[in-house]
Structure formats: C-alpha cells, structure tokens
C-alpha cells in the first residue's frame, strides 16, 4: 500500500483523483489485514484510511480514500465486495456526502504569532488543546478542504508535528429521512 508517502502535494484535482469508499465490515480478526492485503496485491493505492466500531459492536465502519488513478473505482469496489467480511460498500462522491477529518498540529510560535495561530484556529472552528512557551497544539475537526487550508496556513508558522485521521463520511440526508449507508 503506497499510502501517504507517495501522495503528491494536494491540488485542485485531488477531489477528482481521490474517492471515498465507505465499508461496513464484520468485526472479525484480520479484517483490516484482508482489506490492506487486497489493496497491496492488486496495486490499488490508499490515500487515507479510518477505522472504528459502529454503534453495533458486530460491525466496524472503514472509510478509505482511494486514489482512482491507480485503478478504476468499479474494480476496487468489486474486489472489496468479494471479501467475505465486507458487508456493504458505499461509494461516496464528495457532492453526496458529509465529510469530516480531524487534525492535531503542533506549531512553533513566538509571542507575536501565537495570537495569530489561535485566531486562525478559532476562525476555522478549532481550538488550542496544549500550549507551552514556544509551541501550541491545535485541534481542528472540519470538512477536509477546510483542514487542508488550515494545514497550509500552519505550514507558514512552522509545523513541529502533525497528525490527521483521514477522511470519514456519511451520506447526505435526503428530505425523506435518513439514508442507510
């Protein structure tokens, strides 16, 4: 899985190249290895991956951002569908989904730009979760595009460490009620 290491700098066409596939999987031993092994063996690239149990402990939801230049999306979905522990697959186009991503970033600051970083964070809906003289850690949960912009802004201040969770998503609600993805 050539994941983030081989990923190009983010640009406007990322939303075309990167598709989010949401999987509902059985919570059984080795499920993640099966998914990762499939991507590796078939030469599909994962851009990001997020996994956690759902409200029903028998199942987990896996959100994979797939680089569709490495393989046609339909082939990725069809191969994933063959995994016995994969119960359901939803392809989520950004226009049809509510996406979110969580970022933690530690930025080196002097007294002059500390206020600026804090202002940027709160403007984007984030917050300072840790602070010492010379550095702050900011947490931001937002639409991935907002997180991208915030990361770019922080880059100018000097990023010490950064961790993003990868995108997660649910389908947009329709007027006739909840959709079950």
């Amino acid at each position: 899985m050539s994941a983030v290491a081989g990923a190009p700098a983010r640009g406007g066409d990322d939303r075309v190249r990167h598709h989010l596939v949401a999987l509902l999987v059985e919570n059984k031993a080795g499920v993640l290895a099966r998914i990762a092994g499939l991507f590796s063996r078939r030469g599909f690239n994962i851009f990001s991956l997020a996994v956690a149990p759902t409200h029903d402990p028998r199942f987990s939801r896996v959100s994979i951002v797939v680089d569709v230049e490495s393989a046609p999306l339909q082939q990725v979905v069809d191969q994933l569908d063959k995994l016995v522990n994969v119960v359901e697959i939803t392809e989520l186009h950004p226009d049809d989904a509510r996406e979110a991503e969580l970022l933690l970033v530690t930025v080196s600051v002097d007294e002059d730009d500390r206020a600026e970083v804090e202002a940027l964070a709160s403007a984007g809906g984030g917050s300072v979760v840790d602070a010492v003289p010379g550095a702050v850690t900011v947490m931001l949960a937002a639409d991935p595009a907002v997180v991208d912009d915030f990361e770019d802004a922080m880059r100018e201040h000097g990023i010490v460490e950064l961790q993003r969770t990868g995108r997660i998503a649910l389908p947009k609600l329709s007027a006739d009620g909840a959709s079950g993805a």
Partner: protein, 586 residues
C-alpha cells in the same frame, strides 16, 4: 454429546459428505489424526504436502465436489500454499485444514509456527483461525459453502492444537451467518434480453467459453446455445470438455498456443459471447489489439471479472448455467417471433470461412521425416505430438487426461479431443510445474472407474514424482506418459525464439535420472519408448495393468516447438503458425 475439538472437526467433515482426505500428519495436527482412525473418511497419506493439495484439486476437478486436504502447521502449511494458489487461479473448490500451535503460543515464534492465515490471505477465497471449539461445526459449514458456491475456490481452516484437544459439545451448525457473502445466482432478465438481441443481430459471433461452463454444469446449455444461435464455439484451456470437440462448430482452443481458427475468429468477430471466462492474458494477447471489432456479452459469476480486462457491452453477473439457459430461452422466443431472422443459416458465410481456416490450419507437426519418409521408422526421432495422438486413439472416449505445465501440456491440449466435461485436468492460471502426478492420483481416487492418464514433462515429473509412492502404496493405478525431451522445453522454446538460441539452464538430460528404474523403485511398472513403432505397444501394455501405476519414459525430439504461437505481448493478429503452414493463404 461431549467430544474433543478434533472429533468435532472430523464429525463436521463427515457431515459435509467428505469421503476422502489427502494429508500428512505432524505435531500440531496430531490430535486430529487420532479420530481419523475411527472415521468413515478415507485418508490418503501423501509423501509431500504439495501432493495433498494437488491431489485434492484433481479430485475436485473430476468429481465437481470439494477436495479436502489436511496438513500440519509451519512447513506443512507453507508446502500447501502452491496448491492453494493454483486452486485460487483456476477456481477449484478446496478445503484445507492446517494444524496450528496452541492459541497460547501463537505469536511467540513457537516450534513449527507460521502465520498461516496471513500467508494464505491472498490465495484463498476466505480463511479462518478457529479459537473456540464450539465454533467448529459452523466454521466447517461456512468453509464448504464458500468453497463451492459462487465462483468456487480454495478456503483454509487453521486449527490450533489446544482447540483440537479441548472438550466441547457438538451442536449441528446454526443457519449460515455470512452477511457479506451473497454470490449471484439468477441473471437479470433485462440483460438477458439485450444479450439475445445482440446475438440475433450479430454477423460474426463467436462463443468464447471457459472454465465457468464446466464448473457450473452448463455443457448441455452451451450446446443448446450453439444450436439456437448457430454461433461457433471456442473453449479455453480451462473450458475444455465443456463442448464436444467432434462437433464441427468447435473451433479449437484460443490463446497463445491455440488454433489459428479460434484465435483468428475472435480477432474478426463482431460479437464475443464470453461465458465463464476472465479474458486471461494468454487468451487475449495484447489487450488493446484483441478482437478489435467485437462487442462483448460477458456472463460471469464473479462481478470483479466483468470489465477487469475488457469492457462488456452487456454484463450478466450470474451463475453461468442459469444465464446460458435463460439466454437459450430468450433466443428461442426471438426465433419463434421472427423465424429465420438469425441462426445457423444466416451465419453460413461466417462459419464457412472459419471451417476453411480450421481445415487449412490444423494443429500439425512434421509427420514426414526427411531421413526415412515415415514417422513409424525406427530412425525417425519420436515426436511428442505423435505420442499424444496415439494415446488418444488407444484410450476410451471418457478417459481422464491430466497434465503438468509446459510444452507437453500444450501438445496434450492441442492433440487430445475431449468429448465430456471433467475429463481434462491441468494447471491453467498459475502454471504449476509438478501438478500432473498428484492431480492424476486425486482424479483416479475421485473416478476410480475411469482410466486416468497423466501426460507429463521430464522437468515437471522430477518435481512431484514422489506421489507415485503414494499411488503404489494405496493401489491407485494411474498411468504417466513422460514426454522426455531432456529439457525445460517451454523455457528452451522461448530462449530459442526470443533470446537468440542462448540456452541458459534448461538442459536436464534424458537419462539422468533413469525414469524406468526410478518408477520401479516407487513400486510402479516402468517402460521406455525410444522409437515411434514402440509407442502403441507400450500404451497397450500400460492399459492392461490395473494393479499398480505405470510410467512410460517416451524419449522425444528435443528440438520440437509448440505451434502456433502468439509471442507474449503481441497482437493475436501476429500469430506464428507451424512452418509448414507459413505460406498458406490466410
């Protein structure tokens, strides 16, 4: 009822109707071998775990039932990885049980511990590590269900020693709970209607039938489809036997060493009716140049194969037999609505063209030897193709033919004629040298009433010949024809054609080992044939022996090449025919 995990496993296998297990015991699987003594299941003790896997494949290929193999942990498990990969490529239902170290020792690098489920992840349809003895009946039921339904394939159950020794109760398994496993069955009627319309409108259709026809039991439906559509039929290496080859509509096999008629028919076709196939690279050649003018109807049970290599104009994701039957019904309705609008009569110009190709470009070899003028002279080198032709003439119509991988496999496929499904067993997708001897053993166990011949190469034979000891010990009278050309012949052919005859590490020697003495040491009858006139008498002698295996060492012409050939990566338009046909009008 209280019993051990091992007893629960054997009982579960019995419940699934298992009659034969191919295996070899060892430390971690020891507890499971104890209840085998009291079981109705016949255990066949192989001499190497790879043999167990290929024997189970041969058994599955000829019976249509899942093959079962049992091995110990560590090296036992790794030795059966090749058969698992082979079965995964060729969609063969296989259930492999591997021993594993006790659950408390997993992850500690214990003696004979490997991560079997991890290693086999990519070469099984699914696998399980059993951690709770109460799960055994359910896991076994799931394993057989997954191995045999949808696109068949191998599965593996990893079975730790403490689970085997634990006391448990045997409850019949609850209904299967596989929410993520829903193989398709019946076809979408709209897709069938559209496919029927395309077939009725086609002027140059070709039915491209593969292993899915044999596996789904669709041979009869395929014949009906050929009848109602009038379309000619090509059957792939895995599809051989799915259509009777005496039928004049049969074009031969497609692919790298396929018939000129089949390869060229697909290139000129306006509609490929692809049934249970996966557009393998050995069939398509250069994909962008494959059947450039053809629309494609793709009937396939595995959704991921549709569009993987070639876009389908009509996709039918369903069981192959049910889909072909529905297609036949739809075409019959069309035929009654618009009599004479399609079918054999309207396709006459196309089929006449193909018949001409088939007559002008048959599989051939130099039957006339320049020194003697006759193939039957003792001076002429023995041609491997001649051996296959004579073997076919000297064996019953429904004899089972098994082959290894290489030139001999292609000659067997070219010069044998199959009339019945499940009479041809070989390693197609993985190309596993050494497949033939153990697979033939398994085939004979599955169909003891049929004559089973293996056509093997000398290189292949040396890889797995030890299973002839198994065959002798278990009185499994298979017959092996070694086409001994003293070379890794297919590699030699590529070095001849593409590496300017620079032969690197392909010479094996024709008399080291001495195959006759080796066969005799393994309890077989060993025969040697060096000249054409000895061929038929030796085959007849072998056919009369039914109490032990027979091995015939046929000393064949080392220089012989497999023709036709589409060089790897080339367009199928660039098919190289036999030199004697090179000047003929295409």
């Amino acid at each position: 009822m209280e019993l051990t995990g091992a007893q629960a496993l054997i009982k579960s296998l019995e419940t699934q109707g298992v009659e034969v297990v191919f295996g070899l015991p060892g430390g971690a699987i020891l507890p499971v071998y104890d209840p085998i003594i009291d079981s109705s299941i016949r255990h066949i003790l192989v001499r190497h775990e790879q043999g167990a896997g290929h024997a189970a494949e041969g058994y599955a290929q000829v019976t249509g039932r899942p093959g079962v193999a049992m091995v110990t942990s560590g090296p036992g498990a790794t030795n059966i990885v090749t058969p698992l990969a082979d079965a995964y490529m060729d969609s063969i239902p296989l259930v492999v049980v591997s021993g594993q170290v006790a659950t408390s020792a997993i992850g500690t690098d214990a003696f004979q511990e490997v991560d079997t489920t991890g290693i086999t992840l990519g070469v099984t349809k699914h696998n399980w590590l059993v951690t709770d003895p109460a799960e055994i009946p359910q896991v076994v039921a799931e394993a057989f269900h997954i191995a045999t339904t949808g696109r068949p394939g191998p599965v593996l159950i990893d079975f730790p020693k403490d689970v085997a020794n634990a006391r448990t109760t045997f409850e019949p398994p609850p209904p299967l709970d596989l929410p993520g496993y829903k193989p398709p069955t019946t076809p979408d009627p709209a897709a069938i209607e559209e496919a029927a319309r395309l077939i009725a409108a086609a002027e140059r259709p070709v039915i491209y039938a593969g292993g899915g026809i044999v596996k789904s039991g669709a041979a009869e439906a395929l014949r009906a489809l050929a009848d109602v559509s009038g379309a000619p039929v090509t059957t792939t290496l895995m599809g051989r036997g799915g259509f009777p080859e005496s039928d004049p509509r049969w074009l031969g096999m497609p692919g790298m060493h396929g018939s000129y008629a089949a390869v060229t028919a697909m290139q000129r076709s306006d509609l490929l009716i692809a049934l249970g196939v996966r557009f393998d690279d050995r069939v398509t050649g250069k994909v962008s140049a494959f059947a450039p003018g053809a629309k494609v109807i793709h009937v396939e049970v595995d959704r991921a194969e549709i569009g993987k290599v070639r876009r389908a104009d009509v996709a039918v994701n369903a069981d192959c037999r049910l889909a072909v039957e529905a297609l036949v019904d739809a075409l019959r309705r069309l035929a009654s609505e618009r009599p004479g609008s399609f079918g054999a009569g309207r396709l006459a110009p196309w089929t006449a063209l193909l018949r001409g190709w088939k007559e002008r470009f048959p599989f051939t070899y130099d039957r006339e030897d320049e020194r003697s003028g006759s193939i039957t002279s003792g001076l002429a080198p023995l041609k491997p193709q001649y051996v296959v032709e004579e073997l076919r003439r000297s064996t019953p119509d429904d004899a089972i033919l098994v082959s290894g991988v290489g030139q001999h496999q292609m000659w067997a496929a070219q010069f044998w004629r199959f009339e019945h499904p499940r009479t041809w067993v070989n390693s197609g997708g993985l190309g596993t040298m050494g497949f033939a001897v153990p697979a033939a053993l398994g085939a004979k166990v599955g169909r003891p009433e049929k004559m089973v011949w293996a056509v093997d190469g000398d290189g292949c034979f040396q890889m797995t010949a030890q299973e002839l000891v198994t065959a002798s010990a278990e009185r499994i009278p298979i017959k092996v024809a070694i086409l001994n050309n003293a070379y890794l012949g297919m590699v030699r052919q590529w070095q001849h054609m593409f590496y300017e005859e620079r032969y690197s590490e392909v010479y094996l020697s024709s008399d080291l080992p001495d195959y006759v003495r080796w066969a005799e040491a393994m309890g077989c009858v060993g025969l040697r044939v060096s000249s054409p006139e000895e061929v038929v008498p030796a085959i007849e002698k072998a056919n009369e022996i039914d109490d032990r295996p027979v091995v015939i060492d046929f000393r064949t012409d080392s220089m012989e090449q497999v023709y036709p050939m589409v060089p790897a990566g080339s367009s199928n338009d660039d098919i190289v025919v036999h030199p004697s046909q090179a000047g003929l009008a295409r």
